[in-house]
């Protein structure tokens, strides 16, 4: 309190007179009702957007499933605070923090400011997730060490949440054009009645650098899992989990184990239904196993699961449960867990999860479709739910925007009954899918095109290969690194490589070009993946011309991923921010 200690002290006095416990600094949003809200302008609007993105990846305490942001106008001679988490689940951000974030007049001003705001808001979301803002309620004495620990823990969360939601946190560690560090400002920012976190800028930088290193591993874990390389990817994810056990990390690991389990199944089993969230379909195309006795539900198929597949599914279950524990409303983890339960032959558990996902997104047609399938999967022991499941699916399929997954699942269910009428009915849906065959994932397309009397419409999309040399200058060849002399020479000018030694099973390095434009993953001496980063990688609308088939689309926390074969482009607001190319 620099400016109005009189009132603050008097408010303490009032508390003392009232004989009530000492209140924490600012309990609820109601206590800030006299504080003017910030007028709307583009920066305030940007802060709100950043908050939403960071909130999406943050852990949530069960008390606050949906934290809310209120932006307050900093008053002349008023509080010097930047941001605070309140014990009713609100986060306050003062315009002073927004101004401080935009301080540097540099070429990357907007990007730097976004990263700073994401960090500040992530820090407060970290406090909320740990429910630790009310610290002073318990004791005012000797709080420094505890407070410092909590503030640093919130800083760590702020940094990780900002990075996970796609903000370029590396700018936080660099000097600004004013030749000072934002972190310097952050560390000496007014912490009101809280004791300051006594830590030097360099120690704080080291602290965040360690997290930056682990984040690099997490990012490559996500990339590897995207390219169906979960057998390697899962070690990278595990490593990040050691320092940052958050819902994104658990969900990605769960997704990985689910993917590995599906790879263990025969294609008939894996693609019994077309499930949302599953994007690893391509590699399964070659593994279609025909001629087995047909099953009518996944519950029946679950009896044929090998022990190895079952173990993988149970691992997926374990991680996905942890992801949900970290955020009860985390939609992707709920969906992935429901799918895992279906494969495990436990439709009742899946039903519980999908009903909750349905409440979170009642208009989502894919969820509605999956919910109906789960409903049907509860058949058995004299209970036949087939007819009740078919009707709602048909209703949804009548809509023009019915997702192909819904049509596929409906056709599958109609075929299961295998009577003449239903087969004719199914044919209609197979034909509808056949007309859009060129937009279907390969194994689904293969299944659709295999149906009797179905003619698939596969137009060859005109395309050129991605501009690997021109706009996307991927620098290296896929061969042993020690055999590429020119490569070795170039790498010697790059940043000190980040060593990888994961669970004594994977060894390698991450190489980074000094300007941050390229990252290379090398494992056991071989180049595995090359990543381009930057603002000149083009726009999303050009991507389809680089691919001979429709691009697959996947929404990640930090943008939308468009992929095709051995490459993927991560885009934000229509602009490509990263290009990944993997060794196939």
């Amino acid at each position: 309190m620099k400016n109005k200690p009189y009132f603050f002290i008097i408010s303490l006095l009032l508390n003392a007179v009232c004989s009530v416990p000492y209140f924490a600094y600012g309990n609820t949003i109601d206590d800030y009702s006299l504080h003017p809200r910030a007028p709307n302008n583009s920066r305030v609007e940007k802060a709100r957007q950043i908050f939403e993105r960071v909130r999406d990846v943050a852990n949530k305490h069960p008390k606050f499933p949906n934290p809310q942001l209120v932006v307050l106008k900093s008053l002349k001679n008023g509080s010097k605070q930047w941001a605070v988490a309140l014990e009713d689940g609100h986060i306050l951000l003062w315009t002073r923090a927004i101004d401080a974030s935009y301080q540097a007049k540099s070429q990357n001003e907007e990007i730097e400011a976004e990263a700073r705001l994401a960090f500040i808001l992530g820090h407060e979301l970290g406090h909320l997730a740990s429910d630790d803002y009310g610290f002073l309620k318990r004791s005012r004495k000797n709080v420094t060490q505890k407070r410092r620990k909590r503030e640093l823990a919130a800083d760590k969360k702020g940094y990780a949440y900002a990075a996970l939601s796609g903000y370029r946190v590396n700018f936080l560690l660099k000097k600004t054009s004013n030749n000072n560090y934002f972190l310097e400002e952050w560390l000496k920012r007014p912490r009101e009645i809280y004791p300051p976190v006594e830590i030097s800028v360099s120690a704080f930088q080291n602290y965040l650098h360690k997290l930056e290193y682990k984040l690099s591993l997490f990012e490559f874990g996500v990339r590897l899992s995207h390219f169906e390389r979960c057998d390697d990817g899962v070690y990278f994810l595990q490593e990040f989990e050691k320092v940052f056990p958050a819902r994104e990390v658990f969900n990605n690991q769960g997704f990985c184990y689910l993917q590995l389990a599906r790879q263990e199944m025969d294609s008939e089993h894996a693609n019994f239904y077309w499930m949302p969230q599953i994007l690893d379909a391509e590699t399964l195309a070659a593994r279609i196993v025909m001629g087995m006795e047909p099953v009518k539900t996944l519950k029946q198929a679950a009896r044929r699961l090998s022990n190895e597949t079952k173990d993988l599914l149970e691992k997926a279950e374990e991680f996905l449960k942890q992801a949900i524990e970290a955020d009860l409303d985390y939609f992707p983890a709920r969906l992935n867990l429901a799918i895992t339960y279906l494969y495990l032959g436990q439709p009742y558990n899946a039903r519980f999860l999908i009903d909750q996902a349905y409440r979170l997104a009642p208009d989502n047609l894919e969820i509605q479709g999956l919910r109906t399938i789960i409903f049907y999967e509860q058949s058995g022991n004299g209970l036949d739910i087939w007819s009740s499941a078919i009707e709602p699916l048909k209703k949804r399929a009548a809509k023009l925007n019915a997702p192909p997954s819904l049509l596929y699942n409906l056709a599958r269910l109609l075929d299961i009954r295998a009577s003449r009428t239903f087969s004719d009915d199914a044919k209609r849906y197979w034909n509808r899918l056949a007309r859009m065959a060129d937009t279907l994932p390969k194994p689904i397309r293969a299944f659709v095109c295999r149906q009797p009397n179905t003619v698939c419409d596969t137009k060859l999309i005109q395309h050129q290969p991605p501009p690997w040399q021109k706009n996307w200058p991927i620098p290296f060849k896929w061969q042993k690194i020690s055999e590429q002399e020119a490569v070795m020479n170039r790498l010697s000018d790059w940043e000190e490589p980040i060593p990888i030694d994961l669970s004594e099973k994977l060894r390698g390095h991450i190489y980074q070009r000094p300007n941050g434009g390229v990252e290379i993953l090398e494992l056991e001496e071989f180049m595995q993946m090359q990543v381009l980063k930057g603002d000149n990688l083009g726009t999303v609308h050009k991507l389809s011309s680089y691919c001979g088939q429709p691009l697959r689309q996947r929404t990640l926390a930090r943008g939308v991923l468009w992929s095709c074969g051995d490459w993927a482009a991560l885009a934000l607001d229509g602009k490509v921010r990263e290009v990944w190319r993997v060794l196939r």
Binding site: Y6, F7, I9, L14, D31
Partner: protein, 120 residues
């Protein structure tokens, strides 16, 4: 501590320095709020004269804060949302000095306004 602070002639050092600062009026306002808050809860009937005197003090504080130059937004908020309602309650108490409803509302307002102003 609160009771001691109010009854002591000698003000505690950490508070006294505000009495001679540019924030002297806000400081006095805060002290006055605590005094009123205590009196509003006194079970005994408070003489009408007392409330008359308090109204006069309130108006003086209002005038002092209003005449300040420059007037910051924060002062406007204190005047409008902190002090003005108190003056209204005190005016009502001139007519009905033992009206429990008014006293209870005054007490509530003083408590919340004190905290809210401290957070500005």
């Amino acid at each position: 501590m609160g009771q001691a602070t109010l009854t002591q002639n000698q003000r505690p050092k950490e508070l006294a320095r505000w009495a001679n600062s540019q924030w002297a009026e806000e400081y006095e306002l805060g002290r006055w709020f605590v005094l009123l808050w205590v009196m509003a809860q006194t079970p005994e009937k408070v003489p009408t004269d007392f409330w008359n005197q308090q109204l006069a003090i309130g108006k003086t504080l209002q005038a002092n804060l209003s005449n300040r130059s420059p007037r910051y937004e924060i002062t406007e908020i204190i005047l409008e949302n902190g002090l003005k309602p108190v003056v209204v309650f005190l005016t009502q108490l001139q007519k009905e000095s033992d009206d429990h409803d008014i006293l209870s509302q005054l007490s509530k307002h003083l408590k919340s306004a004190t905290k809210r102003i401290s957070l500005l």
